[in-house]
């Protein structure tokens, strides 16, 4: 790993500092900077050119973080904030992936699917569940935005309870409770028999 990130102008670092200062607009600015990187990374991993490589969201986000952010910004707090933004992007990437998977299956060529299934590794059922999860998260956003955020960070961002608490500036106990109730509800929302 190189000793400095690819953020010589310090743009991302600056944005992260602003974000820890409570500037909500910042994540909107950070997103377009990080999106192509994450998409490229995800594509790079998922394209199957690294046989047998396992990709965890935390690993992917970490790799993006290390690449994007300069040394002095690499402290834990910045990382949590960065992940807060990127978890949403991970969600987008994975849902894209699931949609694409489903589009392939939905096409009239139902029999020709096994190749892409082998390569992309996401089963049709899992794709459908991911898409259902996305829709359920949108409903959750309406009734409790923080619960939606916690699911995004824990599930799509791969953050621990403590990191999630740090990113959202709430106590770990709150994160634990909220995560538990949101997860239990979401499980019901993505279960195949409830999908029509």
């Amino acid at each position: 790993m190189s000793s400095t990130g690819t953020d010589p102008s310090g743009e991302i670092t600056l944005l992260l500092q602003q974000m820890s200062g409570g500037d909500i607009q910042v994540s909107e600015k950070l997103l377009p900077l990080a999106l192509p990187e994450l998409r490229a990374l995800a594509r790079h991993y998922l394209s199957g050119e690294r046989p047998g490589h396992t990709l965890q969201p935390t690993a992917l986000v970490n790799e993006a973080y290390l690449r994007l952010v300069s040394d002095q910004a690499r402290n834990w707090r910045s990382r949590a904030h960065f992940v807060g933004v990127t978890a949403g992007i991970m969600r987008r990437i994975l849902i894209d992936h699931a949609r694409r998977r489903q589009a392939l299956k939905r096409g009239p060529q139902a029999g020709a699917i096994e190749i892409s299934e082998e390569r992309e590794g996401l089963s049709a059922k899992e794709a459908e569940e991911l898409i259902a999860l996305d829709a359920a998260l949108n409903r959750l956003e309406v009734v409790n935005p923080r619960h939606r955020q916690i699911v995004e960070l824990r599930y799509f961002g791969g953050l621990s309870v403590e990191e999630t608490a740090e990113a959202l500036n709430v106590s770990p106990i709150t994160v634990k409770r909220d995560w538990r109730v949101a997860r239990a509800w979401l499980k019901g929302q993505v279960r195949p028999e409830t999908l029509v």
Binding site: L94, N144, W185, K187
Partner: protein, 935 residues
């Protein structure tokens, strides 16, 4: 749901969770008085909270990733263990890793084996001591020397002779050249002969334990399980590798030298056929083989009779019937001499026939592979495999004269990739780089004078472009890259002055095409992708050097080819964004691009796109395998690309579940979707002729005849009519799917012309019991539902309205059984002969705990035979569910096949209910292909 409702759910959920079960009921009762729905919701959530089988209990990417986490902490380069200094990882097996190390005291290279921690480590250490003792007792040139066993903390390390070589490649893969196989196995047999003579059995003969040095010398390693004959051969516990175990070993019975012969027989079988002798068998099944495997010569016709009989003798079920190691060595020696005589004759014949420019021995791949005689534009196209090693070959590049192909190769374990070259004088690929663990290599480009090959090497996310002499030698670094994705290619300009590549030099990381001047070292940006696009990939110079064609990625797999003048200027978009693009290359005349394209298909095929009429793109290759990363030469009409192989074969198993599967129909490509006719003959789908077509065969798999010539992308879901005179199926000859019927006489294997039902979009036909109408699935309403239409045509009737996909009518016509799209159950609704037909009535017949694969099931007179997908509690299996008794039995458990059973297996049961047909993926891998006469 309102925020208030949600808050009540949250409160009640937490409150109930804190209670004991009796208190919980009381709490829920009091809460439900006002709001019964609230109670239902919270109860469900409490159940889900305790369950752990949902998507949400796993990482979403974990779902996509196959490999499991490894608790083992590998040593790092530079670490020291006693007098040994670790250099690099060289191999990985089931038990541990082997690292290259330097013996600082004796100043020599050694190999050290580190073991993966596991329960019972003490016993393993004990075995290791055996390994040292047993192997040290042997002083044989084909056996790896063990220097010592040392202990580091609690870890035993075994220090061995350093062997620079590769483990023997084997199935899954294509057959290996016979002469080479014989030589390698001959040496292994000699090593075993010496060991057996000293009373030592290896007990774990498998390809990974047979190292082949660069000079062709074989070294057998891992005598870790060796036991002395007569002393502890009956020690309890089973040791060895399941796939290569002898039956007596798998049963934990007395083992003898003949056990090693059986294992070596399996290895030899795989090498000459490219297939497992007992594909897909769990160790338990293999422990009870009741029949011989298919003769190797029936899979690879080039296997001579004497070798055929030797292999089958080595695989005799009774240990006493197997030949000794010495006898095996002797008979292999004879086979080698015969094969060499044969080869000289073949090369001579090939030379006479002309056109085989790279003839280099016995590439035992079916000559039918991709020969497409019916495409006029590419009538002269001659395609042949250049490489046939196991593992993954990639990113080929043709020398300017088209004579030599450079490519990368990664072994089956996905380890270090290296560059290889294969020219007209090379009988085997020649390795050019020696990267150890320097980082992965991808995408090669020849200099226009053919003297050097540029390549990209990735370290972390960064990397650099290097070059190496095309005959091998030292590498030179040309230019550093900040983003060295191995999915983006590089190219050398026709005048030799510039390199083109993609790099990202600023945030956000977005690949941009650069031209790098090799003399001045100046890097010039050529493209400027729009914001939020992933960027520009794969620049390729036109033969006149004036234009660069590149791929612009605007979204997830939204790929388009653009052209840009090398001097800069206006872009021109060449393709429409339909599917992914996986590499492109210019034809030598500069008038077309060859593009690996997912156009209207999930499979990457090669297309030729004329620059003056891009809408008239033509398909060059079609078939079940992906054709990717095409490369052309600037001066010839030759082309190379990578073919990713997926070999599906058709098997038969007794329906009573007693007995072993028999491989019935096999080719090197995909044979699947077999279906029994009432008279016991078989119709199946194969793409062995270059496109998916229908074939007929007798019940024993013999007499295979192709009966359709769609040349189209897809045919699926065959079913014979009840009178056995017609086959119904779905196909997409014009891009959309329709149902077809085909009149066939299974006795003479003659068929008429396929007739469309004109019901598109329609898939998965099935016959009504009287044969008068056909059910099919259509998503014309926006959802997959089942419809029925008379065979003679007419207006279709909708049969289901709550989802429906694959259907089968009971033989009396009273019930129509059906599955739903992406659901795991089977339902039924009144059939065409039912007395009381309630419109759209349905009832679930077969569901949890089983997971019926939606289009892999069928019905018999009294049973539903289905593919039950694996769950966390049970393995995948073919099962039969008796409708009257609701009892389920297993016909075949598929433990070993799990990763490979995706896709349509095409389950079919014979009319007498004796046999079940299914298909399975026996191997996958990639090979470099070469074709001439590309215009």
């Amino acid at each position: 749901m309102s925020p208030e409702q949600w808050n009540r759910i949250v409160e009640l959920f937490h409150a109930a969770r804190a209670k004991t079960s009796t208190e919980r009921a009381a709490l829920l009762d009091s809460a439900s008085a006002a709001d019964p729905e609230l109670r239902l919701a919270v109860e469900q959530m409490l159940r889900d909270d305790a369950a752990s089988c949902s998507l949400l209990d796993r990482s979403p990417i974990e779902v996509m990733a196959a490999a499991a986490a490894d608790p083992y902490t590998p040593p790092s380069a530079g670490a020291t263990f006693g007098r040994y200094e670790i250099v690099a990882l060289i191999g990985r097996g089931g038990m541990g890793e082997v690292w290259a190390a330097h013996d600082t005291e004796l100043d020599r290279a050694v190999a050290i084996k580190f073991l993966f921690p596991r329960p019972g480590f003490g016993q393993l250490a004990e075995r290791l001591t055996h390994e040292a003792r047993a192997a040290s007792a042997l002083n044989h040139p084909n056996i790896v020397t063990v220097y010592e066993v040392i202990r580091h903390e609690d870890t035993p390390l075994i220090v061995m002779e350093m062997v620079k070589g590769e483990p023997l490649g084997s199935a899954p893969g294509t057959p290996q050249p016979l002469e080479q196989v014989i030589q390698l196995v001959l040496q292994t047999a000699r090593a075993l002969g010496a060991a057996h003579a000293h009373g030592i059995i290896h007990c774990d003969i498998k390809p990974e334990n047979i190292l082949v040095r660069g000079d062709g010398y074989v070294k057998v390693l891992d005598f870790g399980l060796a036991r002395h004959i007569g002393r502890d051969a009956t020690a309890p516990g089973i040791a060895g590798t399941p796939r290569y175990m002898s039956p007596e070993q798998a049963r934990g019975e007395l083992i003898s030298p003949a056990s090693d012969i059986f294992s070596l027989g399996l290895v030899l079988y795989e090498l000459v056929t490219g297939q497992y002798a007992y594909p897909g068998h769990s160790p338990l099944l293999q422990a009870m083989p009741t029949s011989e495997p298919l003769a190797p010569s029936s899979i690879n016709p080039r296997v001579p009779a004497n070798l055929d009989s030797l292999i089958l003798a080595m695989l005799a079920i009774k240990p006493g019937a197997r030949p000794s190691a010495a006898a095996v060595a002797e008979r292999l020696g004879e086979a080698f001499v015969k094969s060499r005589q044969l080869r000289h004759r073949r090369i001579w014949q090939a030379a006479l026939a002309g056109g085989v420019l790279l003839a280099c021995g016995l590439w035992a791949v079916s000559s039918a592979l991709f020969s497409r005689r019916d495409t006029p534009e590419f009538a002269d196209l001659r395609i042949r495999p250049l490489t046939s090693q196991a593992g993954w070959e990639g990113t080929p590049a043709l020398s300017p004269d088209g004579q030599t192909v450079a490519f990368t190769w990664t072994d089956r374990l996905g380890r270090q990739s290296e560059i290889y070259r294969k020219g007209p004088d090379d009988t085997e690929p020649v390795k050019l780089t020696n990267s150890q663990s320097e980082g992965n290599i991808g995408y090669l480009a020849w200099s226009p004078d053919g003297s050097r090959i540029a390549f990209k090497r990735q370290r972390g996310m960064g990397g650099a472009i290097y070059s190496i002499a095309s005959t091998g030698g030292d590498e030179q670094k040309i230019v550093d890259l900040e983003t060295a994705y191995l999915t983006s290619s590089i190219d050398w300009s026709p005048d030799g002055a510039e390199l083109a590549f993609s790099d990202a030099s600023r945030i956000p990381t977005q690949l941009t095409v650069y031209l790098y001047n090799l003399r001045s070292g100046v890097k010039r940006k050529l493209t400027d992708p729009p914001p939020l696009a992933d960027g520009d990939w794969n620049p390729k110079f036109s033969p006149d050097g004036l234009t660069v064609a590149f791929k612009r990625v605007t979204g997830y797999w939204a790929d388009e080819i653009y052209l840009v003048p090398t001097a800069g200027g206006t872009l021109r978009r060449l393709t429409d964004a339909r599917g992914g693009i996986w590499g492109h290359a210019w034809t030598a005349d500069g008038k077309s691009l060859i593009v690996s394209w997912q156009r209207s298909s999930t499979i990457f095929g090669l297309w030729r796109i004329p620059l003056d009429a891009p809408s008239r793109a033509e398909s060059i290759t079609q078939g079940g395998s992906d054709a990717i990363t095409p490369a052309t030469s600037l001066k010839t009409s030759r082309m190379a690309w990578v073919n990713q192989l997926w070999d599906l074969n058709i098997y038969r198993i007794p329906a009573n579940g007693v007995g072993k599967p028999t491989k019935l129909i096999a080719s090197t490509l995909r044979d699947q979707g077999a279906t029994y006719s009432p008279d016991g003959s078989i119709a199946f789908i194969s793409d062995r002729s270059g496109s998916k077509e229908i074939w007929l065969a007798k019940g024993d798999g013999s007499g295979q005849v192709q009966v359709t010539h769609f040349g189209g992308p897809s045919i699926d879901h065959l079913q014979w009519s009840p009178d056995g005179r017609m086959v119904a199926f779905d196909a997409r000859p014009h891009g959309y799917s329709d149902i077809f019927t085909l009149e066939c006489d299974s006795a003479t294997t003659r068929c008429g012309e396929p007739k469309p039902l004109s019901m598109a979009p329609a898939v998965i036909p099935s016959w009504s019991a009287d044969g008068e109408s056909i059910y099919f699935a259509s998503d014309r309403t926006g959802r997959w539902e089942i419809w029925r239409v008379a065979v003679s045509g007419g207006r279709p009737l909708q049969v289901t309205n709550n989802g429906g996909y694959m259907s089968r009518e009971s033989r009396d016509g009273k019930w129509l059984y059906f599955s739903k799209y992406m659901r795991d159950s089977i339902w039924r609704t009144p059939g065409s002969q039912a007395q009381n037909r309630t419109p759209f009535g349905e009832a679930e017949v077969l569901g949890p705990p089983y997971k019926v694969k939606t289009d892999d099931w069928t019905i018999t007179a009294d049973e539903i035979v289905f593919l039950d997908s694996a769950t966390s509690t049970h393995p995948a299996a073919i099962r039969a569910y008796r409708i009257a008794t609701r009892r389920t039995r297993a016909i075949l458990e598929l433990t070993e096949l799990l990763p490979d059973t995706r896709g349509n297996m095409g389950i079919s049961v014979s009319a007498d209910s004796r046999w079940v047909l299914y298909s399975q993926l026996d191997r996958s891998g990639s090979n470099v292909m070469v074709a001439d006469h590309i215009r």
